[in-house]
Amino acid sequence: MLDLLLQNAHLIWRGLSVTLETSAWVIAAASVSGLFTGLALLYGPLPLRLLIRVYVDTVRGIPLLVLIFSVFYGLPAMGMQISAFVAAVLALSVFGTAHVSEVVRGAVDSIPDGQTEAAKAIGLTFYKRLRYVIFPQALARAIPPWTNTAVELVKASSLLALVSIIDLLYSTEQIAARTREPLLFYGVAAILYFSINYSLSLVGARVEKRFRYSS
């Protein structure tokens, strides 16, 4: 059994690194763009708010797999030649952005109006109110749901196996079929997915603690 594991370790590693790389890109992209769309939901001009509202609700109402297939088959059909990997990262990011928008909107919106009013009253401009008063407080509240979203995105990356990207799940499938040891290799995959996500949760909890203040 150990032999079997060692023989396939490099394949598992290759799959794992694709999963890690995809997840990292998607989490980064979704966090940055979600920050802007989330703020636009709160402070943007009405047409922009409506546009993003429609985007967020649409994306959240579509099964992720449908979204992935749409990008994977849709963009080439529209004449855009992109690699399967880029298409996959794009699809997951579109999904992640919608979720992070809601995380950001919810966290910022949960800060009492009195904080904004007090910040206005001492003469802070819009940017400085966000920078010094709202964000530091919203960050502590955003981290738990943000960590949830990040964990969901790591798990969602396993759907990429369906568009033939050899991530952790797909390489596990291949090894399991070849060695006829599905239990062993899916078990390993489960442990690896869990380890990634548990680490994310730990980091999230630690960061949250650092930004929390007694209130």
Binding site: E117, A118, Q137
Partner: protein, 258 residues
Amino acid sequence: MSDEVVLIEKLEKRFGELQVLKGIDLAVKQGDVLAIIGPSGSGKTTLLRCINFLQPYDRGRVYIDGELIGYKEENGRLIKRPESTVARQRSKVGMVFQQFNLFPHMTALENVTLGLVQVKGVARAEADDIGRNWLEKVGLSDKIDSYPAELSGGQQQRVGIARAVAVEPKIVLFDEVTSALDPELVGEVLSVMKSLAENYHMTMLVVTHEMLFAKEVANRVVFMDEGVVLEDGPPAATLSDPKTDRLRSFLRRFEQIL
């Protein structure tokens, strides 16, 4: 313009169907301490919030130091000023809130110095000196590094006052600042306000239900009812010898204090 710090002309504000301010005229001189009294719903708080443009007004004018607040006037029409201009105008007006509204992630000193550093551009070290000094004046020299959650309501409100006055505003607005406090903590906040008036000659607009403060500290009492100013004069006149029935009946429930 004249020597008035605050000049309010025919100020009107409505929320939907409800007209909260129905043409307020008020002139406040340097060093004036106004106690603004009246039943709830009379527009006192809205008046304060229009002065620093937390609440944009519909009609009329608010001038601070001769500068029209929140709008510029073109051919008699009011056109909203950009956010950055309004922010600069607000820095001339301090405000203390009923619910304190301290920044919970900052220490007492950081609460007081934020405006100095980020609005007035004072250097960190100098801002800390000014901040410490004000916290000392409000009796909190031992709470400089405490967070709001570690302070009592009265202490939080005194930080709120230090935060409002540290940036050297032309006037300070007090919006029912003792209403959320336990009765035994009211005195410490009122005595700080009294000292601001007597020792620093600050111009203060105080919305309050504390009739003793109105009587002993204010030099003018302004009585508002249903969105208009019904009486405006020295406390000796307004409180002891009200001219309107409205004020007379309003004061009846404070009879034992006055």
